[in-house]
């Protein structure tokens, strides 16, 4: 559901056209390993895992109004945990995702309380600091391989049988990504999602209605940490390797960029943005002489100027333009 229409739930929920479109997209995604070769399939597996990270950023940025640069830390916590579980405990894919999810949740719960007391640029800087600190720890702590990271994780298995073909890993990652997408969509539509939009729109009024905005923000911060952790576990399910680079500033910035390109608050827009961003960084960058970051920068500028509401906003046609002004909390009469 888009931020643009997040409020108007009644009017927009599951129109037949949207259902058909969603079904078609799903069918195409499921058919990918049948049609494409191993290399594009692994590329798309990575996109799906990255899209899960982007969903967690979107939950904070688009739904709760908290732009963040810290989600890569929880993504990394999930990734490292999943690799450690894979190396030392079990190759079971479900156990790894569950462990990654819990690791992201716990890491976010442990670090989030300070961050959620702030908002806006201060929140952004605090999350950046969290991300950099965690990156620093991963880079220097020898128990998790230091700057070399952790390699040699055995292939994941489901119900006892290892998933050796890239197509099976893809399907597993797709299944979890869809489940996460559905879960986030449910949060957005739930009473809690409404609470988050209220905090985003007018925190002072929420307090006057008896809410504790910091508590609501803490909850969504933990949820987003869990989602990012699951994303990290999916990332290593395919890579079978994790290094400090997977949780660095670049990953956090690209995730936020994907949300902006896709349209904050929409769920499918940022997923599309995630695919686009990884495509440019990993696949096109070589063919355009290593100018991937430059292209991404130009895309970013173009989106901000041409499609202020991102891909989701552009796909929506001429919807009502939303006021993006700051301090919308206090509306003065004429």
């Amino acid at each position: 559901m888009e931020r643009a229409e997040a409020g108007a739930t009644e009017v927009t929920r599951s129109s037949p056209r949207r259902l058909v479109l969603a079904g078609a997209v799903l069918a195409v995604l499921v058919a990918v390993p049948v049609v494409l070769g191993a290399y594009p399939v692994t590329t798309m597996t990575r996109m799906l895992a990255f899209a899960v990270l982007v969903l967690s950023v979107d939950l904070l940025t688009g739904v709760a109004g908290l732009p963040t640069l810290g989600q890569a830390a929880y993504f990394g916590a999930g990734a490292y945990t999943a690799v450690l579980v894979g190396l030392h405990l079990t190759s079971d894919a479900m156990a790894q995702v569950a462990a990654g999810l819990v690791a992201g949740l716990v890491a976010a719960a442990a670090t989030g309380w300070v961050a959620v007391r702030a908002r806006g640029i201060v929140f952004l800087m605090l999350t950046l600091a969290i991300g950099e600190s965690v990156h620093q720890v991963a880079d220097t702590w020898s128990a998790v391989g230091g700057s070399n990271g952790l390699a040699g994780m055995p292939p994941i298995s489901l119900f006892g049988s290892p998933l050796l073909a890239s197509g099976f890993v893809y399907w597993w990652v797709l299944a979890v990504a869809i489940a996460v997408f559905a879960g986030v969509a449910l949060v957005v539509r739930s009473p809690y999602g409404r609470t988050l939009r209220g905090v985003r729109d007018n925190e002072a009024r929420m307090r006057a209605l008896g809410y504790r905005p910091a508590l609501a923000r803490y909850g969504v911060f933990c949820l987003a940490g869990a989602v990012a952790g699951a994303g990290g576990a999916l990332w290593v399910a395919q890579a079978r390797f994790v290094s400090p680079g997977d949780l660095g500033f670049e990953v956090a910035a690209l995730a936020l960029l994907s949300v902006v390109i896709g349209g904050a608050g929409s769920l499918w827009g940022p997923c599309l943005g995630a695919a686009l961003v990884l495509l440019v960084r990993d696949n096109l960058s070589a063919s355009i002489g290593g100018h991937g970051p430059l292209v991404l920068g130009l895309v970013f500028v173009a989106v901000v100027f041409l499609m202020p509401r991102g891909l989701a906003g552009a796909g929506r046609g001429k919807g009502p333009r939303r006021g993006r002004g700051k301090g919308r909390g206090k509306e003065r009469p004429s």
Partner: protein, 257 residues
């Protein structure tokens, strides 16, 4: 009868300006109490201090037998002490229904649930719709709040605060910006409210004040000038002298607003 709300020497200063100056006020349960006074008298500041939006610089707020002076605004709201704003304060990017449902779902203790879509919480949705209906906004439930006219926003503000199940509501100039028809609807709504709901109303429309209020308090330069029945206030010499000179009371209260 013990008062529901009691202010004891309540003071609020902005730097050297004392906007609320040692105000003593008692509002009885079920009372409809009007607060009037010229621009800058400190009415809105008094509301903000009682609600907890602004900390008091002196004195006490006693609500329902408890001293709430040190409590946070959200905690006072949870105890049933609610207020509206002179300048509408809404959730403009949310739907009209969401605005009211936010108030209801907190009271129903489902504000942090995410196991089902909001519309599946039937009791909450129905209650929110009922409140929208009571202010004539049922047809706009799905619209975004920012699409409402000024008068409709005032109505939504009223629905929101009543949906939060208050035991005392402070209305800050509720009818400012409403059309005559909307003002009439508001007055009727207030008259239909349950008798045990206590109201404190800042209002410049004296017709509304004298129609709704059991008692009136006049505030002037942050101090209480007089408290009494509408008849007593209209006849009060000190009230007249303090602001009016020889002018009529109506002109004083409505002038400049």
């Amino acid at each position: 009868m013990t008062p529901l709300l009691e202010l004891r020497g309540l003071t609020r200063a902005y730097g050297s300006l004392t906007a609320v100056d040692h105000v003593d006020l008692a509002v009885l349960p079920g009372e409809r109490h009007a607060l009037i006074g010229p621009n800058g008298a400190g009415k809105s500041t008094l509301f903000a201090t009682v609600a907890g939006t602004l900390p008091a610089t002196g004195g006490n707020v006693v609500f329902d037998g408890h001293d709430v002076t040190a409590l946070a605004e959200s905690e006072r709201a949870r105890r049933g002490l609610l207020r509206t704003y002179q300048h509408s304060s809404l959730f403009l990017d949310c739907s009209v229904l969401d605005n009211v449902a936010l108030a209801v779902q907190r009271v129903h203790r489902v504000a942090h649930r995410f196991d089902r879509a909001a519309r599946r919480f039937r009791r909450t949705e129905a209650e929110a719709c009922r409140h929208l209906e009571s202010v004539g906004l049922a047809g706009r439930a799905g619209d975004r709040a920012s699409a409402l006219s000024h008068g409709e926003r005032r109505q939504l503000e009223v629905a929101m605060v009543l949906a939060a199940q208050p035991s005392l509501v402070m209305f800050d100039e509720p009818t400012a910006g409403m059309s005559a028809a909307e003002t009439e609807r508001f007055a009727e709504l207030v008259e239909r409210l349950p008798d045990d709901l206590t109201l404190l109303i800042v209002e410049h429309d004296l017709d509304v004040v004298f129609r709704l209020a059991d008692r009136v308090t006049v505030l002037h330069l942050g101090r209480v000038l007089a408290t009494g029945t509408p008849q007593e206030i209209q006849a009060d010499d000190e009230v007249r002298r303090a602001y009016l000179g020889s002018a009529r009371a109506e002109e004083l209260f409505t002038g400049g607003l």
